[in-house]
């Protein structure tokens, strides 16, 4: 039993590694992290791009601060999400390598848990609470208003990367419902009219209302 498992693991690891043709040219520890860079055939040059190196460095700093055990995947991903506002593909590969599980395992967790996003979120991330208390006090009106003003639905980001919108199930601030959170700032007892003011305070442009 053990042998089959180990063999499977080695096979999967080999598969992961094979996706990087010239992994030897990449700095240690970042093999699969440089999939895109390396496959362009100019791996060494891409790897020294200072900005990219800095990103790589901060990814490694986050991932490597945890012991290489499966139970830390969630914690690692949370720190990555906080740092980058989403989970870059390279970071997921780095995590999988570090805790020695197949990339698919990490991916399954990244997509299962709601806290994570695989695409970058906007500079201002609006979390509209749609918990029960907020819901019956009109959270849908707020979500509609945000949609109307910003042109994005929950889960989307504006084209200029300024605003994202997501709905969350209860932030535990039910007594001051309905609640809208912009990054970490909690706005209490929000109305449709207040939504426009809030968007303006974060530098957004709000057109005058157009009926339907």
């Amino acid at each position: 039993m053990m042998n089959i498992r180990q063999a499977l693991k080695l096979f999967l690891q080999a598969c992961c590694a094979r996706r990087v043709p010239d992994s030897g040219a990449c700095p240690a520890g970042g093999e699969s992290g440089h999939t895109y860079a390396c496959t362009k055939g100019d791996g060494a040059e891409m790897a020294v791009d200072p900005q990219q190196a800095a990103v790589q460095h901060s990814m490694e700093r986050i991932v490597w601060q945890y012991p290489p055990e499966q139970r830390y995947i969630l914690a690692i991903m949370q720190d990555l999400q906080k740092e980058f506002n989403y989970l870059p593909r390279e970071a997921l590969s780095l995590t999988a390598d570090h805790v020695q599980v197949p990339l698919g395992k990490v991916y399954s967790m990244a997509t299962f848990y709601k806290a994570f996003s695989l695409t970058p979120r906007g500079r201002i991330n609006f979390k509209a609470c749609d918990g029960t208390a907020c819901h019956i006090k009109g959270s849908l009106v707020i979500i509609d208003e945000l949609h109307k003003c910003l042109g994005i639905k929950p889960g989307e980001t504006t084209a200029d990367g300024e605003f994202s919108l997501e709905t969350v199930n209860c932030l535990g601030a039910c007594a001051i419902a309905p609640v809208l959170v912009a990054n970490h700032k909690v706005h209490a007892k929000v109305t449709a009219t207040a939504v426009r003011e809030i968007i303006k305070t974060y530098g957004g442009r709000v057109d005058e209302p157009v009926a339907n």
């Binding site: 055990e69 499966q70 139970r71 830390y72 995947i73 969630l74 914690a75 991903m77 949370q78 805790v99 399954s108 967790m109 299962f112 848990y113 709601k114 806290a115 994570f116 749609d130 918990g131 029960t132 208390a133 819901h135 019956i136 006090k137 009109g138 009106v141 509609d144 208003e145 969350v168 199930n169 209860c170 932030l171 535990g172 601030a173 039910c174 007594a175 001051i176 419902a177 609640v179 970490h184 909690v186 706005h187 209490a188 109305t191 449709a192 009219t193 426009r196 209302p209 009926a211 339907n212």
Partner: protein, 603 residues
């Protein structure tokens, strides 16, 4: 949080600023900073007062709250502008009248929050320290008999501790209501070390926030409960699984763990005994199903949080296949009380089948929203009307939803129901984690059912078919009804589907998912029929079936609705009846919610 040295000068006053999430959102951190800077200035030093940031006081509606001890004065809705007046009143020995709590009905002012209707009927056990202590200072906890229960437990044998918890009649506060003592006992008898203790702080029920409040406002009580259990069952490690959204809870728990270690309440040879035990905080990933214990265990192990069938309970095979006791935050908070004061005192509170108190988060369409803790057996009427102050804006009470997405809606004719685990189940709902969401005649019950089913459809982990497919199908039908395309046959179909999902789902999430639908069908069938047959939403919520109009006889032309309307759909001259342009109306309800003359009607 508060790192300022606190002088224990007998003459000095203590100013407690509530820094729970609700008050923070209303600006309590600014109030605290302003108080501190003013007290440190020349004018302030004469007052001889120190400040403390506390956890949630419960009455979030009136936040930010500022309490002054030992005078026992409570100020509500304090802003930075009020701070100089408060400091001056301390100097003069007077009261700032305008900031006192004012009863919405009697218009009477109260000097202390303890005298108000909101607090008078409460009985605080789990919340006993919250709002009174600085959660980041272990000395505050120790001053209020903190860790005394642990000392007492360590002097007892493990079996005696379990017997005490059994005798108290404590039942799990997370929703299941399983007797805590029995859970501990069945874990202790499994001869397989190591054993683990888990605190379930993955408070996912929308509308419930008592666990958040306890973890933020009194983290040591959770630790103490877990350490007592570790002694009782012989556990070596503990985990607290907290929702990642609860930033402050994670910070305060970690701080408490560090302080408890330093003080010898965690680590090796706890308080000179043979007990070695430590606790670690695990941050959740935002999946509702992880509140289910086997899913939570899978999540701690580093897997997607999918539940498993419980042929074997976690008490026999839990975390990493080892015997594990898993209890909810509020349950843990009750354990030190039971050990310290004795099981008999605890068991004297409550009803025959449900002992002690229960914390409810009273939210929705109620005047005093916030956290309340009452003895089991208190009636819904007492909670909603005596403590909660009734329904705002003179509207009519329609229903109260209990038990989160797995619970049900209880109608007005059951308001005198004495609330405990068994009575709520008999009424077709459940205790759940203790959310009480009050609904008035502006809440559409069909839409509420759709809301919960939509929530559960999104949170179903997808492992078993009845839950995954059944709930999606129910959502489809309910959506159809709220959009005006429902048929009478849909109601039978809903009931059939509900029966299958209840019977065949793997875990409690699926098995209880139909509750909101079944309870609304049972008590509010007429609303379903209004949607299906009359194509109207009586509450004016479902947009496709709603049209607002202004009753010209009642309209005074005050213009409030015109100002509030975000779509410019209301027109009219001052002091003349106004008109709503149905083509422009976005049906947001701002007009009807704000009209003081009940002139806005639903067609």
């Amino acid at each position: 949080m508060s790192q300022l040295p606190t002088e224990n000068n007998m003459n000095s006053r203590m100013i407690l600023v509530c820094c729970g999430t609700g008050c923070q959102a209303s600006g309590s951190l600014d109030v605290l900073a302003s108080l501190r800077s003013l007290l440190a200035s020349d004018t302030g030093t004469a007052v001889q007062a120190s400040t403390k940031s506390t956890g949630c006081n419960g009455l979030c509606e009136k936040g930010p709250l500022v309490k002054i001890l030992p005078d026992d004065i409570t100020y509500c809705q304090v802003t930075v502008e009020d701070v100089p007046d408060i400091v001056k009143s301390l100097q003069d020995g007077t009261l700032v009248q305008r900031l006192l709590y004012r009863d919405p009905v009697t218009k009477q002012h109260y000097r202390s929050h303890h005298e108000t209707g909101f607090y008078k009927k409460q009985h605080k056990l789990a919340l006993r320290n919250i709002g009174e202590i600085d959660p980041a200072d272990i000395r505050d906890y120790l001053d209020r008999r903190g860790y005394q229960a642990l000392r007492k437990a360590l002097a007892m044998s493990p079996a005696q501790v379990i017997d005490e918890v059994l005798a108290s009649g404590l039942r799990g506060r997370g929703g299941g209501g399983f007797p805590t003592g029995r859970k501990w006992k069945s874990c202790a008898v499994v001869d397989h070390a190591p054993r683990y203790v888990i605190c379930n702080g993955d408070e996912g029920d929308p509308g419930a926030f008592m666990d958040r409040s306890i973890m933020e406002g009194d983290p040591h009580t959770v630790l103490e409960g877990m350490i007592i259990c570790a002694h009782a069952i012989g556990a070596s490690a503990g985990f607290i699984y907290v929702r990642d959204e609860y930033d402050l809870a994670v910070v305060n728990l970690n701080q408490a763990i560090r302080d408890a270690r330093a003080a010898g309440y965690l680590g090796n040879h706890i308080q000179g005994s043979g007990l070695d035990f430590d606790i670690e905080v695990v941050r959740g990933g935002g999946a509702f199903v992880c509140g289910e214990e086997t899913a939570l265990i899978a999540s701690i192990e580093g897997n997607p949080g999918e539940p498993r069938d419980k042929y074997v309970f976690p008490t026999a095979k839990g975390l990493w296949g080892q015997p594990t006791v898993i209890n909810n935050v509020e349950t843990w908070a009750n354990v030190p009380v039971i050990i310290d004061r004795g099981a008999a005192e605890f068991a004297a509170i409550g009803t025959a089948g449900s002992k002690g108190t229960k914390v409810f988060s009273l939210v929705g369409k109620v005047v005093n929203t916030g956290l309340v803790e009452v003895p089991m057996g208190t009636t819904l009427r007492e909670i909603i009307f005596d403590i909660g102050g009734g329904i705002p804006k003179g509207r009519r009470f329609k229903a109260v939803q209990t038990g989160g997405p797995s619970g049900g809606c209880i109608p007005a004719n059951l308001l005198d129901l004495a609330v405990d685990f068994d009575s709520l189940t008999a009424a077709g709902s459940m205790m759940g984690s203790g959310g009480l969401i009050v609904m008035d005649d502006r809440t559409c019950m069909v839409e509420v059912a759709r809301y919960y089913v939509n929530f559960l459809a999104g949170e179903s982990c997808g492992k078993c078919t009845p839950c995954r497919e059944g709930i999606s199908l129910m959502l489809e039908i309910l959506t159809r009804i709220t959009e005006g395309h429902g048929t009478i046959a849909d109601l039978d179909l809903l009931e059939n589907l509900s029966a299958t999902v209840q019977a065949a789902s793997l875990c409690a999430l699926g098995r209880t998912a139909p509750n909101p639908v079944l309870s609304t069908l049972k008590y509010f069938r007429d609303e379903y029929l209004a949607h299906i047959i009359d194509h109207r939403c009586p509450a004016g919520v479902c947009k496709e079936l709603t049209e607002f109009y202004i009753d010209a006889d009642l309209c005074t032309g005050c213009g409030l609705c015109r100002k509030k309307c975000p779509a410019d759909a209301v027109t009219g001259e001052k002091k003349q009846p106004h008109v709503i342009d149905a083509a422009k109306c976005i049906k947001c309800g701002e007009c009807i919610n704000n009209c003081r003359f009940q002139a806005v009607k639903i067609r």
